[in-house]
Amino acid sequence: MKRSSQPVFWLLFGAGGMLSALFGAGLVFVTGIAAPLGLEPPAAMSYADVLAFSRNWAGKAFVFAVISLFLWHGAHRIYHTLHDLGIPTGLVAKLACYGTALAGTLTAAQSLLKIGF
């Protein structure tokens, strides 16, 4: 019997959904609203501090988890909503959705490794 790949995608969808439900609003507030408006200490989003955070193994893991899991969460949900909008969910749609998430995950990993430890 051919095994379905869907449980793997569902697991990534669930992990990303939970992470974004718990931290999403707070992250958007810090990076997109408070820091640009100067409501955070100047060091909060400075190059030196963000670099130090991304060089720490825990910080690196958090940044990687947020970017990649958010992408896999969105890809899976968009893929399954295409059918509801009358768009055929063939191989093309699958590659476009999950392919984008995979490309984003690999790019994030490459950049984070380039930043170093």
């Binding site: 669930g14 990303g16 959904g17 939970m18 974004s20 439900a21 718990l22 931290f23 999403g24 609003a25 707070g26 992250l27 958007v28 507030f29 810090v30 990076t31 997109g32 609203i33 408070a34 820091a35 640009p36 408006l37 955070e40 200490p41 100047p42 060091a43 909060a44 989003m45 190059y47 501090d49 963000v50 670099l51 955070f53 991304s54 940044v63 947020v66 970017i67 958010f70 992408l71 969460h73 969105g74 890809a75 899976h76 949900r77 968009i78 399954h80 909503t81 509801d84 009358g86 984008t100 984003g104 790019t107 994030a108 950049s111 984070l112 380039k114 930043i115």
Partner: protein, 132 residues
Amino acid sequence: MAFRRTYVRPMDGWWRRDPFFLRYMAREATSVFVVAYALILLAGVIRLSQGEGAFDDWREGLASPMSVAFHAFLFAVFAYHTWSWFRIMPKTMAPVVVGGRRLAGTTITALGVCAAIAKSIALVVLVRVLAS
């Protein structure tokens, strides 16, 4: 052979017919903006790996009024995602039995939303502590 004009029920705009479907589509639509935010952060990580000048360009982009307005909208979308995620959680998780009785769905939703509020506030406080 005669062409048969069988009736096919039109499905255009089916999700606008019922508030339940409307909420379903609103919940599904949040995923587009979760991806958008992930791509904004991904751009930031790529710029970070390219050096200080590149990273400051990314931050300058985030400080534009358009960007701040978009993030205010994103904040509302993420808040709705949090609400809808824990709203459907009682249906997606295994039943929890406490003291011989099944935990009510509303309790699970309330606990989830409280956890999300606590985690988001903890994140904002942690950033302040680390940066000062």
